[in-house]
């Protein structure tokens, strides 16, 4: 196509958009409450902006950009739609129309700086308002919580500069300096860079971690002139929880879409999307992650500052994109919990028990995959609680408990995990009975039985071939035990534990990862094959001299921090053909992996480095392969298998007994 053809297309489409914007503006004026036209207007303006920028019509691109900003404020309801705003918008569209015609005739485009400054006048207000949002991500929350635990105060300091203030950046810096003297500034909103460049209106926030009292912090700021107001709010644990991606207290302003909290989802507009489309998006994204890894590597090799800068930016965008994509897959656990009240009611009737089921945190969101898989284990645990946990009303009366038993099903977030707890106020689990049973079934021997702590004893419940039910009932105890529950949950990357007090009740606690699909892994080489080991399973890696490896009962072991750690050569587990006919170097690399407090050392030939990988399943056909939890695709397009370290540690345990 020639330039002229492009121009023709541009003019055609430009006229259409201008026409459309005019109609929409009229709609908006007639019904200011209806935000739909705004959305459409926004889209048209955006398209025009892109078109004009491509054609090199800078002034037009500028104008549409400013129009977009004003429309955004209107859309976000930052301030009520005033007549003046409508006027400016109409003027803007008139100018656009004029420009399109000028472009069509090959004339230079008219100057619009007068209108631009009018439009920008509105924009500044917007910046001031939206930047008051203070929200914390998981890391920040953790940091603050730890600080609180260690006896520090965490204060949210809100500072508003007086209107006459000239050197805003300098004032902000002085506040920052003053706070740094009394403690550590952990967060700034807007960011410190923006503050320095005066990219804020008059108000900004710091979060400071300090040993000093509130009054002291406040006083230290009072010496700085040109401050209109200083608010110091102490952040408690509860307040932190509320600020999980939520606006700070007292700053009730329009929220940006990104910070909309999960439980508000119902109030917002939503669309239904086929899960397959999300998976496709996920696949595309994972390929992007792979390519990003490659570029990062290349940038590292080339060592060019500008390239590194771009890669760093890509990394930042990547993490945000990842969060967004993963969030799309989150589903409230309600979907699973919904069927339980009925199930529990029916079961209770069957068992002649009286029970009240209390469900909390049903709005907790989990990855779609987890939601699909978690149902069965939960059913199992609930049946257990009803069948083995709760006593009959008669027994409860005799024990002086209320006749109606209580089971609570609770879902919540903590740190980087989601938890589901099932607690009953039943008979509890007898430690002695568990031990006896375990001895009888040959799961442990007498000697080790005496050394076990409570947690370890209860852990025996999950061993395969264990069932504490005195007799097999219709409800549970059909040969399927808690070991199946554990296997299922571990296959989801989670863990399960139990606490119990005899006579008082039992609590099963399931810990699940928030995101399943992307994990950081250490790539290792053994023979000519590459495997990935999830970082969160690794305690330490090291190079050891072959002479440091000893043998106990023919089992190679390593002394590591005063412990004897069994070693598993990875090439033996996976029958990897050895290079050089098995000629070894004097030293080996060992990756020490952990499961609870159990350690095992995986012996490999080389550590290839750490990388973000996308967890993929091996497909239905190979749904259970020993010591493999999935696969991932490397930068060169090849598939690498992900090692299931838990399976290897378990195998070690089994062999040790």
């Amino acid at each position: 196509m020639s330039d002229q053809t492009y121009l023709n297309v541009f003019v055609e489409e430009g006229r259409e958009h201008v026409q459309r914007m005019n109609t929409l503006l009229l709609d908006l004026e007639n019904d200011p409450e209806n935000k739909e036209p705004v959305q459409e207007l926004f889209r048209s303006a955006h398209t025009l902006k892109g078109m004009s920028a491509t054609m090199g019509f800078e002034t037009m691109a500028d104008l549409t950009h400013e129009l977009e900003n004003v429309l955004q404020q209107v859309r976000d309801g930052v301030h009520p739609l005033k007549d003046e705003t409508m006027d400016i918008l109409f003027q803007g569209v008139d100018r656009l129309e004029m420009m399109v015609e000028q472009a069509a005739n090959g004339e230079p485009l008219a100057d619009v700086s007068d209108l631009l400054s009018k439009l920008r006048g509105g924009e500044e207000e917007k910046t001031a308002v939206t930047q008051q949002d203070v929200s914390f991500d998981g890391y920040e929350r953790e940091l603050f919580e730890t600080s609180l635990d260690n006896g520090y105060y965490v204060f949210l300091v809100k500072v508003t500069l007086s209107e006459q203030c000239v050197l805003k950046g300098a004032r902000a810096y002085m506040v920052y300096e003053a706070l740094e003297k009394t403690g550590d500034v952990a967060k700034a909103v807007p960011s410190v860079e923006d503050l320095e460049e005066e990219k804020f209106d008059r108000t900004f926030h710091f979060v400071t971690i300090t040993k000093e009292e509130e009054q002291h912090v406040k006083r230290s700021l009072e010496q700085i002139s040109e401050l209109e107001s200083v608010d110091v709010t102490a952040l408690s644990r509860d307040a932190l929880k509320q600020k999980q991606g939520v606006t700070a207290k007292g700053d009730v302003t329009a929220k940006t879409v990104r910070s909309a909290p999960a439980h508000k989802a119902k109030a917002t507009k939503s669309i239904r999307v086929d899960i397959e489309r999300l998976d496709a998006l996920m696949n595309l994204f994972s390929e992007w992650v792979i390519d990003r890894g490659r570029i990062e590597q290349i940038a590292g090799e080339l060592n060019r500052a500008d390239l590194t800068e771009v890669v760093e930016h890509m990394n930042r965008i990547g993490s945000e994109l990842q969060e967004t994509v993963l969030n799309l897959r989150m589903v409230p656990v309600e979907q699973v919990f919904n069927r339980f009240p009925r199930m529990v009611r029916d079961l209770a009737k069957e068992l002649n028990k009286d029970v009240q089921l209390e469900i909390t945190g049903a709005d907790t969101e989990l990855d779609r995959t987890v939601i699909d898989e978690i149902g069965d284990p939960l059913v199992h645990l609930l049946r257990n609680a009803l069948d083995h946990g709760l006593e009959t009303p008669k027994e409860r009366r005799e024990k002086g408990k209320p006749e109606t038993g209580h089971i609570s099903l609770r879902a919540f977030y903590s740190g980087n995990h989601a938890f589901i707890e099932i607690a009953d106020d039943g008979a509890g689990i007898s430690r002695d009975k568990v031990l006896q049973k375990a001895l009888k079934n040959g799961i442990i021997d007498r000697e080790s039985a005496d050394k076990l702590g409570d947690a370890q004893v209860y852990d025996l419940l999950f061993a395969s071939g264990f069932s504490t039910a005195e007799q097999v009932t219709d409800v549970s105890g059909r040969g399927v035990g808690l070991d199946v529950v554990r296997t299922k949950i571990e296959s989801l990357g989670g863990s399960v534990s139990v606490q119990s007090e005899e006579g008082k009740g039992t609590t099963f606690s399931i810990q699940l990862p928030l995101t399943l699909s992307i994990l950081t892994a250490l790539l290792v080489r053994t023979g000519d094959e590459t495997y990935a080991i999830p970082i969160n399973a690794i305690l330490e890696t090291g190079k050891f001299d072959r002479s440091e490896i000893q043998k106990v009962h023919g089992q190679p072991v390593l002394r590591f921090r005063k412990r004897i750690v069994p070693l598993v050569p990875l090439h033996e587990v996976f029958s990897v053909p050895q290079r050089d006919g098995g000629v070894h170097n004097d030293s080996v690399f060992v990756v020490i992996v952990k499961k609870g407090d159990q350690l095992t050392g995986l012996v490999v030939d080389e550590l290839l480095g750490q990388q973000e990988v996308v967890l993929k399943s091996l497909g239905n056909y190979l749904n259970q392969v020993f010591a493999i939890s999935g696969a991932t695709i490397l930068g060169d397009g090849r598939v690498a298998l992900i090692v299931d370290t838990n399976a290897l540690i378990q195998q070690q345990e089994a062999m040790a007994v």
Binding site: N283, L284, S286, E287, E529, V573, F574, S575, V576, K616, S617, L618, G619, N620, Y621, L622, N623, Q624, V625, F626, A627, I628, G630, A631, I633, G637, R638, V639, A640, L641
Partner: protein, 156 residues
């Protein structure tokens, strides 16, 4: 064997293993790929060669010769991976070559005679008698039965 084939006939993808031609219903075939790097998976039956990266989807690959107990053959230029699916699973089948799409008219498919070639009769759906040759139709549900995978994993 009364099958839906009886009335209308159907289209099959034809591939070759040794001296014989095999057919798989075209609706069960997703694509035909050239040989590519296969990542070996340990502790699975021998006929599972490993997994490949099929445009972002990790897909298991089965060596059909090995599955059918035929002698091994070096992979060469004409070796193909036929990606097929059944209701639950998607896998790639390594075959000597794959070239044709063929229409099987109604009424030419007969039950597989017992003792036909080397292939276990339970993997076959039937034999199509065409003008110039015989075409062995595979029953993919049986070929890809996960029972086979499990049995062998247990033995290990």
């Amino acid at each position: 064997m009364e099958t839906r084939v009886a009335e209308t006939g159907r289209k099959v993808i034809v591939f070759r293993l040794g001296e014989e031609d095999y057919g798989v219903d075209v609706q069960q075939v997703d694509s035909i790929e050239r040989m590519q790097p296969i990542t070996r998976v340990a502790n699975v039956p021998d006929f599972v060669q490993g997994v490949i990266n099929l445009r972002g989807v990790v897909t298991p690959v089965i060596d059909l010769r090995s599955k059918f107990g035929m002698p091994q053959k070096e992979h060469d230029e004409s070796t193909r991976i036929v990606i097929v699916h059944t209701e639950n699973v998607q896998v790639g089948l390594i075959v000597d070559s794959a070239h044709d799409v063929m229409h099987i008219p109604a009424g030419v498919v007969e039950e597989p005679p017992s003792g036909l070639g080397e292939v276990d009769a339970r993997y076959l759906e039937g034999v199509a008698k065409l003008e110039d040759r015989l075409l062995v139709l595979l029953n993919l549900d049986r070929v890809l039965s996960r029972e086979d995978v499990r049995e062998i994993q247990k033995e290990d």
